[in-house]
Symmetry: C2
């Protein structure tokens, strides 16, 4: 006998998790489709060189990498961004530009599993490639807003900033050569706090005045409206620029479509990754700030430069589905708590098998999800615990030619001559 | 620069393939849910020992197997059946029995890629575990029928047989010790034809009379009705048995729910795999018999015996989604041919950006999938080819405060004062 177990950092998804996950993914797909975004998929395995770049990452312990039976150096994708860049380089002429895609699927990282972090998890990415203007920046933000609204989340705020405005500020105070280190340090603000960040920045700038300048830049959104913050940032970064103008246009579109109140200008948002060049954003659930960002991204100038000379600027975002689901669970969202496997469970004796099956077919045709308990000889106690495990709200018993519908929480019973009539009693 | 390419035997899924695939999966998931089947998922990576059994498969070239960074011997799943058995062994006490699940996801095999066969492909499995009776056999068949009907396929036939009846027959003629070899040989009938099978059987039985007996058994469905065939098979296998009685009960349920005409009794169906013990089946599209079976499976006695002492009999089926999609494409199914990315494309000049965006939001709210062309300065020719590439049927242009809806195939135009009015013109 082999001990049945899963690998460290991996897990099974049982129905009570998988049902809500599928429900949430459908809602998101419907939102994305309503904006004309199309789905793509890419292989789980790719050439390691394609995923990590030439020579790069030889020592990268975070990825699942191996030689296949044909001796190729291959790896499992660790995000959906790199495969998308490779995909664009290969197919952009067929796809037509601008290209708006979404991709919801698993990725793998060998990092040490922590609470709530796994080696296999789902990413949900959406991007617009081939347009560099306020309109496309707005469209991604609008779709993020619509997604969170469609999920019925009560209270979420999108924190926006602009990478180029931050860079202009660093240039303005003469420390642009340390931009990458500074960005990465500021990005840790939420995790390690102001005091730690100040210490680290002092180490980088070597000048407490410059450190305070940076800290005052990134906190300049506190207590200020979006446009007040933008005014302040504009001044700190050397005056009006195409970037500050872009930000004003985006905000005016958010205002004129009535969604501005969900957006704040938060200059502490920098995103750790190098490739962002324009707006950047993170998303927090108002009631669960400590959960961290559940939807992040930004604008990049040239995603596919590793594989093609074609310039492909874009703007995109990624929803951390596992983290979002954990948050929704904590908030008691009905999306998570309703994982009923069926609307009705038909219970019957062996001699009524055929009646039960015919009733089942009729109920399904009328749109009622109908499970039939398949072991007629089982004890009632066992059958009811089956219904309970599956969160099935009603049972339907066949007794003396009658159909008895029972609400399993109130224990109310209703009697019917025909199974067709039951729909109304359930749907109301 | 790195040459962008995918591994041999792998492929990207572009929107015109991914849109229909997602549509088909949703239809199937809705059918499965209507029967109270619940979704599960399992890790892509598992311990090799769990997937292949102890010591077994050391030389198996067909799987993607490697040492992870922690030195574990791991492999990517090659089907959804083995992980399901492991899953059942670990979770059956929490799940409650009978357990009805579906699982639609990718699997990987390193076999040499042929036309239409890839190293990464999607399986769609559904099983009932923990009930061994005609009712559960029927339920799987009924769900298969409902699935094909929901996909709008014109003409499909389920070929049923019974493994235990075949075994009884072999015992009856005294060659049950060669059952495994004979089953595998008969399973090749469709591929290699009667003459080749006769030759191979002669080699196994060493007795032309027995070979003819087997051939006459497996062709006894030709020109006969379901029950006539069953009568013949019953006689050839030594008279009435629990198995032949089970088969009669299943058929009577199929008849009484009005779906019997899609089922034939075809004793040449044996399924190559050892673990089947009861009904077995394959499914063929009437207009494309050469495509091969698009949905196959059967009853097994004890799926999880490798991992647990718990007896878990079941019945299940698997749809070959890639093959089915190839068939639907060949048949010109609208499920495959409609891959429109949106219902309407909004075209506007730079000064009308805000109007365009607001019109877009309104149309989406009314249920119209609305794409906005994001580069207002582009040439009309380029914009129309964008719409064509995405199979978008309508454009909406903003001109002098009016909204001009254009049917892009008939070139008819309609003028509106308000974007809200457009819904009717499109939906009809």
């Amino acid at each position: 006998m082999i001990e049945p177990s899963v690998l460290k950092g991996f897990r099974d998804s049982l129905p009570e998790e998988e049902i809500p996950k599928k429900r949430i993914i459908r809602i998101l797909e419907d939102v994305f489709s309503s904006y004309g975004f199309v789905p793509i998929d890419t292989p789980v395995l790719e050439y390691t060189e394609v995923l990590l770049g030439k020579g790069g990452g030889e020592t990268d312990k975070q990825i699942f990498r191996f030689q296949d039976n044909g001796g190729r150096d291959v790896a499992m994708r660790f995000d959906l961004t790199v495969p998308f860049a490779r995909f664009l380089a290969m197919h952009h002429d067929k796809l037509g530009i601008p290209f708006k895609r979404y991709h919801i699927n698993k990725v793998w990282r060998g990092e040490n599993p922590q609470k709530g972090r796994y080696r296999e998890f789902i990413q949900c990415d959406f991007d617009i490639v081939g347009a560099d203007n306020a309109e496309s920046d707005y469209e991604i933000l609008s779709m993020m807003h619509r997604s969170f609204s469609a999920l019925g989340i009560d209270g979420y705020t999108f924190h926006l900033s602009h990478r180029a405005l931050f860079s202009a500020f660093l240039e303005h105070i003469g420390i642009e050569d340390k931009a990458v280190e500074i960005l990465r340090t500021v990005d840790k603000m939420r995790k390690i706090g102001t005091d730690e960040v100040r210490k680290l920045l002092d180490g980088i700038t070597g000048d407490p005045a410059k450190t305070e300048g940076i800290l005052s830049f990134i906190t300049s959104g506190e207590g200020r409206s979006f446009t007040e913050t933008l005014d302040a940032i504009e001044a700190l970064s050397g005056g009006e620029s195409e970037h500050s103008k872009r930000m004003r246009t985006i905000y005016s579109l958010l205002e004129n479509t009535g969604i501005a109140s969900s957006f704040v200008f938060d200059p502490s948002i920098t995103r750790g990754l190098d490739y962002y060049t324009g707006i950047v954003y993170e998303t927090f659930l108002d009631k669960l700030p400590s959960l961290g960002s559940v939807c992040s991204g930004g604008r990049y100038n040239d995603l596919a430069s590793l594989y093609t000379k074609e310039k492909l600027p874009g703007v995109g975002s990624s929803i951390g589905l596992d983290r979002l689901m954990a948050g929704l669970m904590e908030l008691g969202s009905p999306l998570l708590t309703d994982s009923s496997a069926a609307d009705v469970l038909i219970i019957h004796s062996a001699e009524d098998t055929e009646k039960a099956i015919i009733a089942g077919e009729k109920l399904r045709k009328s749109g009622i999800r109908t499970d039939i308990y398949l072991v007629p000889e089982a004890k009632m106690k066992r059958i009811y615990s089956y219904a309970e495990e599956r969160h099935i709200p009603y049972s339907l018993q066949i007794k003396d030619g009658k159909y008895i519908l029972k609400n399993l929480s109130t224990r109310e019973e209703f009697s019917f001559d025909e199974p067709e009539k039951i729909r109304e009693a359930i749907i109301g």
